[in-house]
């Protein structure tokens, strides 16, 4: 479980590298929101996995907390995606 979680945490670092390269080229700039949203979701996921890794079972309070953190991340992402959608419509015009 620990190994799997570590892999899932290493991959975003690689993804972030590509993401930053992309953001230097494209004219639509919502990178801060996308990064913030994804990082928040990932934090929520880490909290979600912690009890399973260290205790070996679920702790409801931590699970609920992680769901709320993920919710905050998703809200940021919704905002970013809505903005991108509006921006792209402008670009097409």
């Amino acid at each position: 479980m620990l190994i799997l979680t570590l892999i899932s945490l290493v991959l975003p670092i690689l993804s972030y590298r590509y993401f930053m390269q992309l953001m230097k080229l494209v004219k639509i700039r919502r990178s801060n929101f996308l990064v913030a949203g994804s990082a928040t979701i990932l934090t929520g996921y880490v909290f979600f996995m912690l009890p399973w890794i260290f205790v070996g079972t679920d702790i409801l309070a931590i699970r609920v907390f992680s769901y709320y953190v993920i919710m905050a991340g998703l809200l940021i992402l919704v905002y970013a995606v809505v903005k991108i959608y509006i921006d792209w419509r402008e670009v097409m015009k």
Binding site: T5, L22, D58, V64, M71
Partner: protein
């Protein structure tokens, strides 16, 4: 603690993001979006699994939590693939993504890079790559914005580092970029021109510029105007002519060097209009200076016409052609202005066509209305004739003797039949005049004749209502028209006046000659008509009080069919004055 509430919210939000992304995909349909879509499609499943796992599985075995990291790893890999795809598309400029998404400043740098590399590729075997590097270093020294550029191991100009440096800036000064790269291109062209005739350079440039993205072509216009249109001519000047030109042309931002090369790069400090003005001024001065007006104009036109299509389109868009001095591209100017005129004419014709359609629809509607009234009136008249025949037979006691009550009722029936017959006759008259089917039997007759006949008919009713009835007629009021119809029109108005004027009121009927026309006026002291009703009362079946509302519309149709005019002036509470203007004796 209830985990269901935040989990439900998470599920809803992930579905919302999926919906938005699907919408974006529907519009753009790009390959990399499919991968993002896969990712976003998996996320709600993750939350659904979470529901399932929390409610049914967690108590059974902790291994049921393993799918989370697995799905997350898959999601992350999909995101990386999508990003790599997009990045490759942007870097290689294959696929349509780069045109849509690439920043304008990056696109501009790449366009300059391609032109610069064309010259570097052609000249480096002759002058050596060291010399090219030296030119670049000199340019970087002059314009530090180019400091990210370098000559790579493949002996080509590389701009990736510059792109990255630029990418970190929020606002990039495009004019600064244009100035720096134009300077670099000018230097490269100067070196290359020592090896190749300038006309060939222009042809090569034309080929390269033809490939430039439409989004950034506007930034190349000064380069094209000075380096591709003017410079070929200047390069052909003799040494003494060139010296004179260099001394006489004094335009800020434009400089002619010793070789006849134009250094225009600082012109980007000015706005679009000022840049164009400087070009026009340069051209005018060049024409004045050389004394070879016709020759220069011919050459300038030749260069203009050889320009690639994307450049021509941009010049047409800016209307730069129109600003050129007379004698240059006159045909193109004419095409441009005739195109504008054509568009204006098309708009005008479209408007006229729309109006004609509206009139046609109106006429069709009127015709349908007329036909409808005609049919109804005829259908009513046939049974009414039968009723009238039998009423006559009954009243004349041909079908048996009648008592007093029966006779009285029959008389009332006959009176109503007469009313109905008159109404139908009136209705029949509207369509016939509308459709101009009625032949007007025009003749000359004194207004006195018809007015006397009308007065005779209505005088008794007026007397009963104790109304003062005054008639004033000019002796020379001779009307030219259908006597019976005109009498009907005037009578309809007079009857209305008597009907709607209260007891002891006054009615004045006048007929006066006014030039070629006769004006007949009927004034009453009735309750008057509101201004908003003044037009409507002439419409068929529009009645302010009891009545069919046909009298005035028939009068209007009769008057207008004679080429006359009818109108009303009225003050509420004081009375109305109807006027009829008819053609008089010629």
């Amino acid at each position: 603690m209830n985990a269901l509430l935040p989990l439900t919210f998470d599920l809803v939000l992930s579905l919302l993001i999926l919906l938005l992304a699907a919408n974006i995909y529907v519009i753009y349909r790009r390959q990399y979006l499919v991968w993002f879509l896969v990712v976003l499609f998996l996320t709600p499943f993750l939350f659904l699994y979470s529901f399932f796992e929390m409610m049914y599985l967690s108590d059974i075995s902790p291994y049921f939590v393993v799918p989370y990291p697995f799905i997350l790893i898959f999601v992350e890999v999909a995101i990386i693939i999508a990003q790599k795809n997009l990045l490759a598309s942007l870097k290689t400029e294959k696929g349509a993504e780069y045109k849509l998404l690439l920043r304008e400043d990056v696109a501009l740098i790449r366009a300059f890079e391609k032109i610069a590399n064309h010259f570097i590729r052609r000249m480096s075997p002759f002058v050596g790559i060291k010399n090219v590097e030296q030119i670049l270093e000199e340019c970087i020294e002059q314009y530090p914005i180019l400091s990210g550029c370098y000559i790579g191991s493949d002996e080509r100009l590389k701009v990736q580092m510059m792109e990255e440096l630029i990418g970190e800036q929020k606002e990039v000064n495009m004019n600064e970029l244009c100035t720096a790269f134009s300077y670099l291109l000018t230097k490269l062209i100067d070196s290359y021109s020592a090896l190749v005739p300038y006309n060939e350079i222009v042809e090569e440039l034309s080929h390269e510029i033809g490939k430039i993205d439409k989004r950034v072509i506007a930034y190349f216009i000064p380069f094209i105007l000075f380096k591709m249109v003017l410079e070929p001519f200047i390069r052909e000047l003799r040494g003494d002519e060139l010296k004179k030109l260099r001394m006489s042309i004094d335009i800020a931002g434009v400089h002619v060097n010793r070789k006849g090369g134009l250094e225009y790069h600082t012109i980007y400090a000015y706005d679009e209009t000022a840049m164009e003005e400087k070009f026009i001024t340069f051209l005018i001065r060049l024409l004045a200076f050389s004394g070879r007006d016709r020759e220069i104009k011919g050459k300038v036109m030749e260069f203009f016409r050889k320009l690639p299509q994307n450049v021509k389109e941009e010049m047409y868009r800016r209307e730069l052609i129109k600003k050129l001095p007379p004698g240059i591209l006159d045909e193109e100017k004419m095409v441009l202005s005739s195109k504008e005129k054509l568009i204006e004419e098309l708009i005008d014709r479209k408007q006229k066509l729309e109006e004609a359609y509206a009139r046609l629809a109106d006429a069709k509607l009127n015709k349908m209305k007329s036909e409808f009234i005609d049919i109804i009136a005829h259908e009513l008249k046939t049974p009414l004739t039968t009723i009238k025949t039998y009423t006559d037979l009954l009243r004349k006691e041909k079908l048996g003797p009648l008592n007093e009550v029966q006779r009285e009722k029959l008389e009332r029936m006959e009176k109503n039949i007469k009313r109905l017959t008159k109404l139908i006759d009136d209705m029949l008259q509207i369509p016939s005049i509308d459709a101009k089917e009625l032949e007007l039997r025009k003749e000359l007759f004194p207004a006195q004749e018809v007015i006397d006949a009308i007065v005779e008919e209505v005088e008794e009713i007026a007397r009963e209502k104790k109304q003062a009835f005054t008639v004033e007629i000019d002796g020379d009021a001779i009307i030219f028209g259908d006597k019976n119809l005109i009498e009907k029109a005037i009578k309809n108005i007079v009857v209305n006046a008597v009907k709607y004027t209260p007891e002891k009121g006054a009615i004045t009927l006048t007929a006066k000659r006014e030039g070629d026309f006769i004006r007949i006026s009927v004034a009453d002291t009735g309750r008057g008509i509101r201004s908003e009703d003044a037009e409507k009362i002439f419409e068929p079946f529009y009645s302010l009080e009891s009545g069919a509302g046909l009298g005035l519309s028939i009068a209007k149709n009769i008057v207008e069919s004679h080429g006359g005019k009818i109108w009303v002036e009225s003050t509420v509470g004081k009375g109305s004055q109807f006027h009829i203007l008819l053609r008089g004796e010629k």
